[in-house]
């Protein structure tokens, strides 16, 4: 293609030519459907001259382009505190207020780029590959049973807090050397830290986020450092040993910060995935019965539930050099907003994309991003979700939604219901 045909990101139609930013972020999934239906919306200009990607093929192709790197921690921090998205007040906190949050961001693989990115990333990829996580399955199955028991004793279960969040925090606490009390503390901190996904925060919300992040880094960091020095934890031993072999500037300070920063999605986002998968399963007329009849369908329930309700609706990359793609010229330093949840409902790839089908072929999903940044936690997210759903669909368990007025949280990058009350009971069938 000749350069004369290129459109620069700055000249693309803006989201706000079609829809106010407020409406766009109120329910990204609905807004993306609306935008995909309009002409000339494959690429849009977002806030701060970012490139917004809606289509499956584009998201997956761009995700695999090495020129699209991660957004460095200082820019993420700036975006979280100083950037004006035009959708609410901007908080400009004092640097000491954001010290813990900065530490949290700085130690994440999610904010690294070459040359540190691959060796650091592989440190997480290795222990979390499908074969290597099988050893965690018995502990997860035991915890899922324990929670079914706890919930069966209640009239009603707040599924997010009393099952999903508790399950994933107890699970990782066990694997990473935290006590049950610390697990409960971390679960509470996750609720505060989920404020990180809001597009704009009030000064009070920002304060809560920064303070929770600092406490989280200290609590998990300390517990992990202690568990590691006590010895006998293979997961920590292996990661710590691999960390010593990395000789690149910017690597994490120690095993404690490494784990705290990178397992946040383990403590938090897997819980959201379980909620969304269970919600979709229970909302469908026949899925629960189908899965009871054929337990192998839990795999489809995981992929279909997270395809339709992708926990991380969007995330950003940053162009590390100039990129030309499909007639668009994207200068180095451009934020690229990957709308994973939109890519997951693209009718060009998924037939009748908004329908829930356990028979759908499992391919082309964008729930976990793609390319050399494809989420290292995806296999363990699936395993834990499948184990939870298996426990909840056992022949002697009944699970049902309470009420039918479910609402997705607004103005957040995390696809999560405002509440998911359910009943869980033991039955004799």
């Amino acid at each position: 293609m000749s350069t004369t045909q290129l459109t620069s990101v700055a000249d693309l139609p803006a989201i706000e030519d079609f829809i106010t930013f407020d409406d766009f972020s109120r329910d990204f999934v609905e807004a993306a459907r609306e935008l995909r239906g309009r002409e000339g919306t494959d690429f849009l200009r977002g806030p701060m001259n970012s490139l917004v990607v809606l289509r499956n093929k584009d998201a997956r192709t761009l995700a695999a382009n090495p020129a699209l790197g991660n957004v460095p921690a200082d820019i993420v921090l700036w975006m979280a505190t100083e950037a004006d998205l035009g959708s609410g007040p901007v908080t400009k906190p004092d640097p000491e207020q954001t010290e813990g949050y900065g530490r949290f961001l700085r130690n994440q693989v999610f904010t690294t780029n070459p040359p540190l990115h691959q060796p650091y990333r592989n440190l997480l990829v290795r222990p979390l590959m499908p074969r290597n996580i099988l050893r965690f399955a018995p502990a997860a199955a035991r915890l899922a049973q324990e929670l079914v028991e706890e919930c069966a004793g209640r009239d009603q279960t707040d599924f997010s807090r009393e099952f999903a969040g508790r399950f994933v925090t107890r699970f990782w606490a066990e694997q990473l050397g935290l006590s049950r009390d610390q697990a409960a503390h971390v679960q509470h901190l996750m609720e505060e830290m989920s404020l990180t996904f809001l597009l704009t925060r009030t000064p009070e919300q920002s304060q809560r986020l920064f303070s929770a992040a600092a406490t989280y880094m200290d609590v998990v960091g300390e517990a992990v450092r202690k568990a590691w020095s006590d010895g006998g934890n293979a997961l920590l031993d292996n990661m710590a040993a691999e960390l010593t072999t990395i000789d690149v500037e910017g690597k994490p300070e120690d095993i404690g910060s490494l784990v705290a920063s990178n397992f946040f999605d383990g403590f938090h986002t897997i819980g959201v995935a379980i909620e969304n998968v269970v919600f979709r399963m229970l909302s469908d007329g026949t899925a629960l019965e189908q899965i009871r009849a054929d337990p192998a369908l839990v795999t489809s329930a995981f992929y279909e539930g997270t395809r339709l309700e992708s926990p991380l609706i969007l995330s950003q990359r940053l162009t590390l050099q100039d990129v030309e793609y499909n007639g668009v010229s994207v200068p180095a330093g451009t934020p690229v907003v990957m709308m994973w949840a939109s890519a997951n409902r693209d009718p060009e790839v998924f037939d009748d994309p908004d329908s829930y089908r356990l028979t759908r072929q499992i391919q082309h999903g964008a729930t976990f991003g793609g390319g050399a940044h494809l989420c290292p936690g995806r296999n363990v997210a699936r395993m834990l979700t499948e184990i939870a759903v298996t426990a909840l669909t056992a022949p002697d368990v009944d699970i049902a939604l309470v009420g039918d007025d479910h609402e997705w949280a607004a103005h957040t990058m995390m696809r999560q219901l405002t509440a998911l009350p359910v009943t869980i009971r033991r039955v004799h069938r």
Binding site: T61, A63, P130, I362, Q363, G371
Partner: protein
């Protein structure tokens, strides 16, 4: 265009006219061969393009690097001496007639 035979775990064969220079994974995807998934788009990051390569063609292939070895160690299907990530193998003319066995699972 060398013809490559992809064979599913249940024995179903797929003859694929592969384009020299593209990856084996891409050749399979372009012909909708089931069982080669390619979640990471060919970045040797996911392992879902794992397959077993015809022993006699192994010497023709570029050796797996450290990263590919690490991914192969963690794939869910058995890992054998002829296990490779098909996204890391460029198709060459002398691959005509090669058989590629697809594992029973990629997830």
């Amino acid at each position: 265009m060398p013809e490559i035979r992809f064979i599913e775990a249940d024995g179903t064969p797929h003859r694929v006219e592969a384009v020299v220079g593209q990856s084996l994974k891409q050749a399979a995807l372009d012909h909708l061969v089931p069982g080669i998934i390619g979640d990471c788009g060919g970045c040797a990051s996911c392992g879902t393009c794992h397959a077993y390569i015809d022993e006699k063609y192994l010497p023709l292939l570029p050796p797996a690097d450290e990263n590919e070895e690490m991914i192969l160690e963690g794939v869910p299907a058995s890992r054998t001496s002829n296990s490779r990530l098909t996204c890391q193998i460029p198709v060459t003319a002398d691959m005509a007639g090669m058989e590629v066995q697809i594992p029973d699972t990629q997830f």
